[in-house]
Symmetry: C2
Subunit: 220 residues, 2 copies
């Protein structure tokens, strides 16, 4: 991994703020693509439908990039947030599980634009081994450890069912992987220093179901 810059004097930032940064990054990227050079926190607030005060508070966590009476420089802020998010580094990732979800993730070319490079795919189903997703070969599970070490892989994407996920995660930990992006519907207990980000789709669907019930308590 290469880092082009070091963030100085970083405070402890809450996960809630960090969770909102990608959204700022997305909106600023769109503004940049539209040729917008600067934006006030008020205008950004209307666009993103969050309060201007929330925007100022969030961005102040990083020293604040705005200037009174000028607003935010879109391109500068976009790049700074990108750096904070670690997007100035290249990340090599593998996907474990070559089912529909794994293939969908392997086909997301947008990940590549952000520096996440899809390097390898693994599955235990012999029928899938040797097939290719965007030129990337599906390999047998027993080659994972060797492949991670030889190819400077820092992220493993777990796109397999819950039943096998814990054992695979333990194996990944032994290879020295830095991060797991976990789509299996189970919580992984990994040692400190290994980053896990969960995408629990069922949980998200249940949250939607809660909000449907709440909006129409009697099921009309």
């Amino acid at each position: 991994m290469l880092s082009e810059g070091v963030i100085l004097e970083e405070k402890e930032i809450s996960q809630a703020v960090i969770g909102r940064l990608p959204r700022y990054f997305r909106y600023l990227g769109e503004l940049k693509d539209e040729g917008v050079e600067r934006i006030s926190s008020q205008d950004l607030s209307e666009l993103m439908k969050v309060t201007a005060s929330q925007i100022r508070q969030d961005l102040n966590n990083f020293g604040g990039f705005g200037q009174q009476g000028y607003g935010y420089n879109v391109e500068y802020l976009y790049h700074e947030i990108g750096k904070i998010l670690g997007l100035d580094r290249q990340h090599n990732f593998i996907i474990i599980g070559a089912g529909n979800l794994g293939r969908a993730l392997g086909n997301y070319i947008n990940f590549e634009k952000r520096g996440f490079i899809f390097r390898g795919m693994f599955d235990e189903n012999p029928a899938l081994i040797g097939s290719r997703i965007r030129g990337v070969k599906v390999m047998p599970m027993n080659e994972i450890e060797h492949f991670i070490r030889e190819n400077d892989i820092d992220i493993a994407v777990l796109a397999i069912p819950k039943s096998g996920a814990v054992a695979v995660a333990e194996k990944l930990v032994r290879t020295g992987i830095h991060a797991i992006w976990n789509f299996a519907h189970v919580d992984l207990n990994v040692p400190e220093g290994i980053q896990v980000e969960n995408v629990h789709l069922s949980d998200s669907l249940m949250k939607l179901s809660y909000n449907i019930r709440k909006a129409a308590p009697n099921g009309e």
Copy 2:
């Protein structure tokens, strides 16, 4: 939709608490399947790796289900949380987009176990129309509105690229859909009363990238 019970005297509950309920539901379901009848907040706390005080606070939002010296009745709490999450109702859903992601979502049989029934799939690609995912037919986009009205559909899953998502969401709103589960990487502006739950995969990956950078600031 059918509701088997009405939740009485419900307070306004923060989205943070609601976001945690599916996880309680998942752990309680596993305990139930293992034949565990009751559990103390202390034991649940160790299992879930959250503080016992957080568990008590979260569950107190719903009147609290625990009894001093007894703990929680697993089966009762599981069913009560299920009701709160609206899982005692049946939800019919359609998927828009028959690509890898759409097909992955259509193949999740776990959704069905929770009362989310996969009814129809739509795509604009003529080559996909007529094919089937678990017996469910892929139909052309111009049949969406009629299908929603005729089949009591309450959730539409958007598994299409960002470019078409806003227009499709507007169309869905006109059909009277209750909820959109949005996988397109764009924020949808829908009228009040329509529930949207976003799964922004790129945002989740960026959060992971942030945590990798933070754990190894100089990119070792």
